[in-house]
Symmetry: C2
Subunit: 300 residues, 2 copies
DNA sequence: TTTATTGTTTCTTAACTTTATACAATTTAT
DNA sequence: ATAAATTGTATAAAGTTAAGAAACAATAAA
């Protein structure tokens, strides 16, 4: 028998001045009202009411109990509403993890925008590549590139960005323009191993899929150094268009093998569980899902 | 499922940092620990722990809940111990009701003695004859004379005092000394109707029981005026020896018809219930039960 | 008197709690 | 590297309890 319920019954009986009245208020049977009080009395080993069939009065212990009961019940109600409120209104701290480049270039502008709507919310952003244990680190939501293989996490697709192979015009002039995936084996391919699979580039041509194992003069766990190296003529890169788009527009990089299709890079939001999703995560998720595709340039 | 129990489980899990550890502490199964937490989470609609099989961390809501839970649990424990203590140690206010004469002459000296042992206890004494609703008046314990016919009350015999019929020597000289119960019909018999049955005096002689209906020049609901009147020669009285004892010793009153037996007046302590008897009532009961018979002059 | 209402008791059914057992995931030990 | 142990959870069976209906004794009002 739930003690808090019994305490509530006790308070109502004391207020109503009768078991029957309280029972009606609480929509329970008179029998249950009796049982709740008797339960409390037996647990406390104390008589709470002096009662006969027709008259009812609190004992001294009952008076003392009543006062404290009310306080406890109030506290519990206040507590639950506070917790529920935390669940309903975005507030507190939202800890986000994202790969450095997209985090800095695309997620953080979105965050800034988002935060304007929720004055009680603050954000902690961690820019880090590679696999991270979200739960250990207390991360609320992470941005992942490519697919995910942790079954305990929930992934939601946010957007996708086409991958392009490109190099600086200078490099292409010196080493020739590759026409076929196989040609890549003779080139310097700069590898960003933040995007899996590390050193395999996969193309879809007229003759089906072809996977090439590439090597090159530079590897990094971040896209930025790779992009820089390519702009400076160190080799070919395969990076999402949202990173190299401007370089291409402005002629610093030049796309090659456009006739081949490359499976686009998928961008996912990832979070620990789907039930009881906190308001801050839920609402940011909705926001970024609407916001990101426009900035990436493609729909999810 | 008792919410306070669940809250306790929650606190222990948070402290132990694992369900299994908390389960061992609380001597319940791991399964139950899980269920308690799940129950809370579903009631709050909020995830309290981020957890996988191997790692556990409080959510933001969990942190907030933990703090308040501990406070509530402490409050409840404190409250219960306070109530139980009230039940174990005599303290607070003991409300006693007694017939005026015995209350003033015998009970209140006992009370004074008794109170010395319990500095946290105070007493409210009501001297009143006749039937009183103990529960309505919030009386903890009453002293009753004669038998009781309220089934909802518990009576415990404290003492008995022999009743004697007597009058002033002056009265007896003027009206003659009654030898037989029947003689009383020609006398003025002063009636104290605080002691039932009101106007019938019952004697036990060699020839069996005899009940006489008496009348007289004065009736009162208290013994004192009756005794006074008798001392002043207004008639015969039948009062317990503890009231008229001294008057007899000092010759102000003279006993008659001593050869007849009169059922002694029984003195009872009466209280509302026998279960969960509060410490103050229980201990005073014990005290007065040991104390009173000596002062009344007869054993219970 | 009859009628209605009170707090309580008894009894039965429905609901819940608890345990035992199994399982998937993951870590530690050998 | 394989086996053993430990974690949180799921599921089903057993055991326990809570809930309401009906009946009851006590009392008050009509």
């Amino acid at each position: 028998m739930d003690k808090l319920t019994s305490m509530n019954v006790f308070v109502r009986v004391a207020k109503a001045g009768s078991f029957a009245g309280a029972a009606k208020d609480l929509d329970i049977s008179r029998a249950m009202a009796t049982k709740h009080i008797m339960q409390l009395e037996s647990e406390l080993n104390t008589r709470l009411f002096n009662r006969t069939t027709r008259s009812l009065s609190l004992t001294e212990a009952g008076e003392a109990y009543l006062e404290r009961c009310q306080q406890v019940l109030l506290d519990v109600a206040e507590m639950e509403s506070a917790i529920t409120h935390l669940q309903t209104e975005p507030r507190g701290t939202l800890k986000i993890l994202a790969p450095p480049v997209i985090g800095a270039s695309h997620i953080s502008p979105g965050l800034t925008e988002y935060l304007k709507n929720y004055p009680d919310l603050s954000v902690e952003m961690v820019l880090k590549g590679g696999q991270v244990d979200l739960i250990d680190e207390g991360v609320d939501l992470a941005i992942y590139l490519g697919q995910l293989n942790d079954t305990s996490l929930v992934a939601r697709k946010l957007a996708s960005s086409s991958l392009v192979v490109c190099a600086s015009p200078e490099y292409l002039k010196n080493h020739g323009i590759p026409q076929d995936p196989e040609d890549l084996e003779d080139h310097s391919c700069l590898i960003n191993w933040a995007i899996p699979p590390r050193n395999k580039w996969r193309f879809k041509g007229i003759l089906g899929e072809r996977t090439v194992t590439v090597t090159g003069r530079m590897q990094a766990n971040m896209a930025d150094p790779i992009r820089n190296a390519a702009v400076n003529g160190l080799g070919l890169i395969m990076l999402p268009r949202y990173i190299v788009g401007r370089d291409i527009e402005q002629g610093r990089l030049q796309v090659v093998m456009e006739q081949y299709g490359i499976a686009p890079l998928e961008i996912y939001a990832v979070y620990p569980h789907r039930k009881y999703l906190s308001a801050k995560v839920r609402s940011f998720l909705e926001f970024i899902q609407a916001w990101l595709p426009h900035r990436i340039g493609m729909n999810p």
